[in-house]
Amino acid sequence: MNDVIGLAPWLVGFPLIGAAVLLLGGRATDRWGHWLGVAASAASAVVAFILMFRMIGTPPEERAVDHGLWTWLSAGGLDVDLGLRLDPLSLTFVMLVTFVGTLIHVYSVAYMDHDVDRRRFFAYLNLFVAAMLTLVLADSYLLLFVGWEGVGVASYLLIGFWDTGRPSARENAVAAKKAFVMNRVGDMGLIAAMAILFATVGSVSFADVLPAAGGLSETTATAVGLCLLLAACGKSAQFPLQAWLGDAMAGPTPVSALIHAATMVTAGVYLMVRSGPILEAAPTAQLVVVVVGAVTLLFGAVVGTAKDDIKKALAASTMSQIGYMMLAAGLGPAGYAFAIFHLLTHGFFKAGLFLGAGSVMHAMGDQTDMRRFGGLSRFLPITWITMGLGWLAILGIPPFSGFWSKDGIIEAAFVPVDGQPWRAWVFGSVAVLGAAITAFYMTRLFFMTFGGRRPRWTENQHPHEGSPLMWWPLVFLGVGSAALGAVLGIGGTFTTWLEPVVGHAEHHEPVLPVPAIITVTLVLVVLGAALAFRMYAVALVPEEAPRGSFLTRAARKDLYQDAANETLVVLPAHGVARLVQVGDRDVVDRGWGVLPLAVSWFGAMFRKAQTGYVRSYAAGMAGGVLVIAVVAWLVIQLGGGLGGAQ
């Protein structure tokens, strides 16, 4: 392992250099810039593969390696090396990011072909890859935070990629800002967590903090855990910081696939798993994590059922799926592996679904409304098949990859914690219910797009597959969606792989027998899918959305999340801001302004005494003599001077 560890910095280095060249090179790099971007990403992927093979060849207990680069900051007792931590967990992520990332780079070459700013797009993509790899490879919370916000910026830049020159430009920019700001709300948690950790442990590097986590008081651990959860909620669009994800679909579709489905949004799960020891020391925090996961799971699923915009439906799905992961991450060591496993499979099938959606949009002139699709299977066969694989995977139909990971999570959710069976029943049921709803909305999405007897297209549509650059990545991801789960899932390969990092999980029995859980889940999934099939494949889909039930309308509006944020946060905040503004102008500034006014006023008063009449001056002098006499008399009366030295 140590002989190739020197390559690790290049994982970040290649895309970083790529981004730098593309950004600084300017228009000169327009012609070949996108290929440089692909090459940079691919180079990272190659390095990742090399490292991967070497790690597999290393004994499990030696797989975690810290590779320090240079002293980053060392002051006032805080010593942080800029260093990379390579272990099965981070390398899993690296593989996902570089491999899927490279596919999406390739896809984008074609997808963004007509965009004048393609070079800039690749610069941002490369920047994202570099930041994401920094995030997962960091050996300290501080460096993790660099990547954490780095991906935030990349995400900001890419969501707002089309921020001028289009009718929707301003909305895109607003969406980008919203994403970044809500992420920052979460980031406060990470800062606070670091502050608490430095105050208690005296360090923020994983190597010091994680082993010491067991020694933390429960209060401290809970505080840190909750702070980290806040960060994770922001980055992973978990309740209550979920509102930005839907708007983030304003970015080009490859961005949605890479950042807002496969990699960045799952960083919160990574953070939870990475900080496992801390959460384990804080059962309350763990419970909150599970609750957040469960709530988001249902939230996203419900929203997904009502969305007619294909990307927003997928975004809701992403939110829901990450809810699963988060739920698993809150279950302790038993759930970590499945959380990451699901993260991995989800990364493949959801990226595939998004790229498929991009392919559809590409074919349909950037139309995203599913009610204007229909009957596309004949025109886009490759897209149809690959998205079909993704659809089966997310439904959790065996043997597609989603089954292996999601089923693991559902089983883990049914395991009672600390002898509290109610938790098992509640969270298990939620997970199963979520699976059923997922089946419904994904089937709805799939058949509204590809099925149906009659196309509902707008005028002048001639759908056709894109260039091979676009569909080859789809094929790769489709294969992954189909097979990855089985490859890694059978025999617990993946669980074993992560064991050096997340620890060995004792096997606990769920409250229901495992076959029963699987059966119930599958039955519900099939029911959900069948219902959707009946409603959207057999029946006619209206081109205009019907008014729908109250629940439908609510789900269409993301369960009023924006209204809630507006009412609960934005309006009060704006009120406070207005108050501060008015206060500054009318109290502080005017308050200072009173001083010169007072001086002028007194000046004008005293000035009147200067009448110009000699006699009044003389009277003033005489009065002055009297005043002096009175002062002198008072000194005697009051006794003592003025505090003078004498």
Partner: protein, 528 residues
């Protein structure tokens, strides 16, 4: 030993004089009318040579002993009142000297076309900038309270003329007066404390002919009440300079009315005297009083952080907005200083440097933007959709903005996180709570930066602005060093931290070493 600091102070003075005299040359040999003359190139050359001299000073500085005041010189100046010409810098002082020296050529370059073709105005502008540079270098080097005070006040005068004489806004005269009145008001209150300090020091046996040497004064026990009164006197002056809520009112007016170059020098460098003074005078001279006041100061600092950020969000004027962001950042700096942790103090020291680079970049780039507007409007609403029109300008603005919101990877992040993490573990009561309370500042920072970027650079280009030129080479040359500095210091902050770490340790030790009086409150009561 070569008198680096004296030379660093004297050289810009020589420059100012030469620039002033260049008027005579032009009259004889220059073009008859409308000539651009010698003033700008001369000033630029002088400021660049000054940068060279700065490198010399850095080489002569021993980083191993960064806590000590090096390159020191000491001569009797006005022995009758105990004043000496004593200069010397520790790591923090050296960094701030460096900040002043580095920013001046950039500001000169940025202002290259600002004053139009008016030769007289131009000459006065650059001469004043050089004069201000000399004062700034001197004030960060002063190791004598009297000398510090003299420079602290005297440098207001060139700053005053720079604001009032060369600004863009219609309210610049008012702004200049407001600036001077606030600063002098604080400064004169400090004067009373300075005088009192002298007599107490002499009473305590300090040599009356050198009674103002900082090194000597730190050893003097002033007595609780006197110490606190004097602390208040010094602190008010520094708080006004810093600028801290609620004595910040002058700052937005100045930022909105002065030229961006002036604002850069003023807010990014000159105002650091406030926090620098807190760190190098308030803490070591009045350790007990510093601890006594710390809870209050921290609270005000955090209020400043949030207040400044909220006000920035509400601004409609671009340059005023940048000014308000500084109120927020200075809040962080003060928070770090008054929580008495080595980490927080080092972070604050580092932040003084970074804020200069980041906010300087933002001011200058905002200035470039404003200078492109046909009416030189500073209203944010006057701009729209410029990202596609002036991509490089937009990118530079965004990077400067991201530095302002302390994006990790940039130097500002390192310092801000050091302050926050350090402050959380601070010794004054309530430090942790206040540190947590300051954290929302980072969210607000994101809002004000991105909201501004969104309004100016996204959407459809505003009418009349579709053909604005992008950043010129000269402007890129101005922005590049600042951005590069922020990046390099973000990735290798130890380059700067080696200078501030030891001084931070020392100043914290100075404050916390003094034993807390058994019951300070009771003692205070009895003294009254």
């Amino acid at each position: 030993m070569f008198p680096w600091l004296t030379v660093l102070v004297a050289w810009p003075l020589v420059g100012a004089a030469v620039v002033g005299l260049s008027a005579l040359v032009r009259r004889r040999t220059g073009p008859a009318g409308g000539g651009t003359g010698l003033a700008r190139p001369l000033a630029l050359v002088f400021s660049l040579v000054e940068v060279g001299l700065l490198v010399g000073a850095f080489l002569a500085f021993d980083t191993g002993a960064a806590a000590e005041h090096q390159l020191a010189e000491q001569h009797a100046w006005i022995p009758q009142i105990g004043a000496s010409y004593a200069v010397g810098v520790d790591g923090v002082g050296l960094l701030l000297v460096a900040l002043s020296v580095v920013l001046v050529p950039l500001v000169l370059l940025a202002a290259w076309r600002e004053q139009g073709r008016d030769e007289v105005r131009l000459r006065r502008f650059v001469a004043l900038v050089l004069l201000l540079e000399a004062f700034m270098v001197a004030v960060f080097s002063a190791r004598d309270v009297f000398l510090f005070y003299v420079l602290f006040e005297a440098m207001l005068i060139p700053a005053y003329f720079l604001i009032g004489g060369f600004g863009q806004g219609a309210g610049r005269r008012r702004a200049a007066v407001k600036f001077l009145m606030f600063s002098l008001g604080g400064g004169l209150i400090m004067l009373a404390a300075v005088i009192a300090l002298y007599f107490l020091a002499v009473d305590a046996g300090v040599d009356p002919r050198q009674a103002f040497l900082v090194g000597q004064l730190t050893a003097v026990d002033l007595g609780t009440v006197a110490e606190r009164l004097m602390f208040v006197g010094f602190f008010i002056a520094f708080a006004i300079k810093a600028p801290m809520v609620p004595v910040h009112s002058w700052l937005p007016d100045v930022a909105g009315n002065a030229t961006p170059g002036t604002s850069t020098l003023l807010i990014c460098v000159l105002d650091k005297v406030g926090t620098f003074g807190m760190l190098t005078l308030c803490l070591p001279l009045f350790p007990e009083a510093s601890r006594w006041a710390a809870p209050f100061v921290i609270a005000l600092a955090v209020v400043s952080v949030l207040y400044g950020a909220i006000m920035a969000i509400m601004q409609t004027d671009l340059l005023r907005l940048v000014g308000w962001t500084s109120v927020s950042h200075f809040g962080f700096i003060i928070l770090g200083i008054f929580t008495f942790t080595p980490l927080g103090t080092a972070g604050s020291s580092f932040m003084m440097l970074n804020h200069g680079l980041a906010t300087g970049a933002l001011f200058l780039v905002a200035g470039f933007l404003v200078s492109r507007h046909p009416e030189r409007s500073q209203k944010i609403a006057a701009y729209s959709g410029l990202r596609s029109v002036t991509p490089v300008l937009a990118g530079t603005f965004l990077v400067a903005g991201l530095a302002t919101l302390s994006l990790p990877g940039l130097a500002t992040f390192v310092s801000e996180i050091m302050v926050l993490i350090g402050a959380f573990g601070g010794s004054p009561a309530g430090s942790a709570a206040w540190a947590i309370a300051a954290i929302p500042g980072v969210v607000l920072a994101a809002v004000y930066v991105l909201l501004t970027y969104q309004k100016i650079f996204t959407g459809a280009p505003a009418a009349g602005l579709e053909a604005l030129p992008d950043l010129r080479v000269r402007e890129r040359v101005v922005a590049a060093p600042l951005v590069a500095g922020l990046l390099v210091l973000g990735l290798v902050p130890s380059l700067a931290l080696t200078y501030v770490d030891a001084p931070a340790e020392q100043s914290v030790a100075a404050v916390t070493a003094v034993d807390e009086p058994a019951d300070a409150a009771a003692q205070m009561g009895s003294d009254k």
